[in-house]
Amino acid sequence: MHLAYPAVLAALLFCVGLYGVLARRNAILVLMSVELMLNAVNLNLVAFDVWLRDALHAGQALTLFTIAIAAAEIGIGLAIVLMVYRNRGTSDVDRLRDTAEPAESGATPESTDEKAEAAA
């Protein structure tokens, strides 16, 4: 099989994932998009491993690592999203703006605390 097919497929997958990460508002969909991007990378790794006929199969080994790390990441990520949803009643990324710089300069820490409480 020609290398172009898996490479183009991986690029498409990555772009879809990137779009999802940058544009989706739901935190869970953002996490899923991250998975898409990771898997695009995995696909690339496997494809180039085969194409290069690597004796040690470093690409495949690295893919296994990536899958394991991605599993851990999605586990923690989903747990965080769950907690955020329980606390705030939403998992909308656009609304989770507690780290924003307050509009007026010289805001005291108390006012940011109040804001956090109000948001909660």
């Binding site: 990460v21 703006r97 924003a100 710089e101 300069s105």
Partner: protein, 659 residues
Amino acid sequence: MTTTTLAVLVPVLPFLGAAAGLAVGRTAPGFVRPLAVLPTLAAAVLAVLVAVRQGGNTVIEASTQLTPTGSVPITLGLHIDGFAALVAVLVGVVASCVQIYSTGYLREDPRYASYAALVSLFTAAMLLVVYSGDLMVLLVGWEIMGICSYFLVGHYWETPEARSASLKAFLVTKLGDVPFLFGLFALATDAGTFRIDGILSTVASGGLDHPTLVALLLLAGVAGKSAQFPLHTWLPDAMAGPTPVSALIHAATMVAAGIYFVARLLPVFAASAAAMTVLAVMAAITMVGSALAALAQDDIKRVLAYSTIGQLGYMAGALAVGDRGAAVFHLLSHAAFKALLFLAAGAVIHAAGTNSLTAMSRTGGLAKRIPDAYWTMTVALLALAAIPPFAGFFSKEAVLVAAEHTALGERTGIPAGAGWTVLVAGLLTALLTAAYALRLWLRAFRGRGPQAPDHGRQPIAMTSVLWVLAIPSLGFGLGAAYLDDWFDGEALTPTLTTAVLGTGLAVAGGAVTYAVWRTLAARAVPAVTPPHVAHPDAEAGLVEAEALHLPHPAEDPADPGRALLGPLHGPAADGFRLDALYAKAFVRPVLGAASLVRFLDREVVDTYVRGAAGTAKGLGWLVRRAQTGNVQTYLSALLAGSVVLAIAAVALANAFAGA
């Protein structure tokens, strides 16, 4: 014990007393008085012993080197000749008198412990200066005296006068000490040693390369320490200290150190005719100017302060004509009667409740209240005015005889002009001295008006030392015939010409003052209540501290000094406006420079600092604007940045590959 051990103990004992006094002053107040008096007294006794064993003509030399100190070695050395032995006796006796007097005078003072310890330290420093055979060790004592005078003059530091006076004393003497230090270094470089005997032998063999430069630099330090024109201005202001401190500074320590230093190194100064002329002119200006100023002062202690400056002028004059025997002779007799004058003045201020002569002249019966102070002060004033047979007569005549010899060209190496300058100024000052001494006596003890309040007898500690000091004031001069052996061997006895001239002028000055006083006293005195302290019954030191605040009454028409001086009175009362001149010449430029520096610091340097802070703040404000809180915006920026970097990297790689 060997004489050397005894001599080492003389400065060490008061030093240990001072250290112990400072250490236990708070915890064990009962030990403070013995710790103050006994070491000083023991040092005085030991100094007498050393003088007896030394005998006047054998020079005791002893030295030890603790550690190698580079090119010019510094040794811990003793050099005791007749001058050193006698001056040490004087310092010990006067310091003992002052310590004993202080136990009565500052009986209830809360800071007596530190005061007594500092007086002991002061004494130890002076004894170190007197005995030291090494100029660097001498300098140590010299500087300790400077800092002690600062602390002691500022004893009543609650009053602004005392604070500024102590600062002034410190700064003015330091102003002289800087050239003094350079002079010492120059001298040591020329002679290759700091040892006094080494330097003197170098001078004797003509090995001194820059005698004028060295002598002039050293003279600056001497002028500061010994209150000679133009660095004398600190001394009258130093009256803000307690009276015993004034007695100590004016009689035995501090001001005596400068004269003693020149006496010890006189060959160095005599190697330069220019330095001797400068010294003679300095002494002449000091003598006449201070005598005029003394005639115009209203504060009894300031009169005495200016008289000290004048008498130091006599000593400097004797040195300028190359007779250190006469100088140290006058130093010794002056120390006795000036210490007595100050201590008696302390008693007078206590009894009168004021330090103003005008106020005293409107109070009657002061002499009856304090007979001890009255009689001893009379003796001391007669000695000051150089009336025979009091001590001052003989020593002053010795100075005048020395000046006469030089003026007539009988002394080689010293310009005759210096002799004439000193002789004329000395005779003129003799006239003025008698005038202000009599004025002081008449104004203080012959006042008319309401009776002085009766405080009862003064403490025995205060009155007894007055009589002790009255003995040398009365009889020390008779020892002139025996003192020759202790000094350079030149006759100190008066000759007929100068004796008749000097005494005649003194009597004339006294007579004119008395006549003017009688004439003025006959006129009606305006009945103004003179200001007195609020608590006249308090202990003596407290009365004096209060008296410092008193405003001096306006010009008194019954003051004979005012009539005698005429138009000169205003400037003379002001110390010839020298303070104002210094304020214009030095204080104002310094303040101007300080404000310039402040402007540069506040407006120029700080602008850069504020600018740096403002830039960082502005940049921070810009970056803060980007913090929207939306993670996806951040990620978009991140992606854009990565893409830009990747494109740049690829483009650059292509560009380099193409090249």
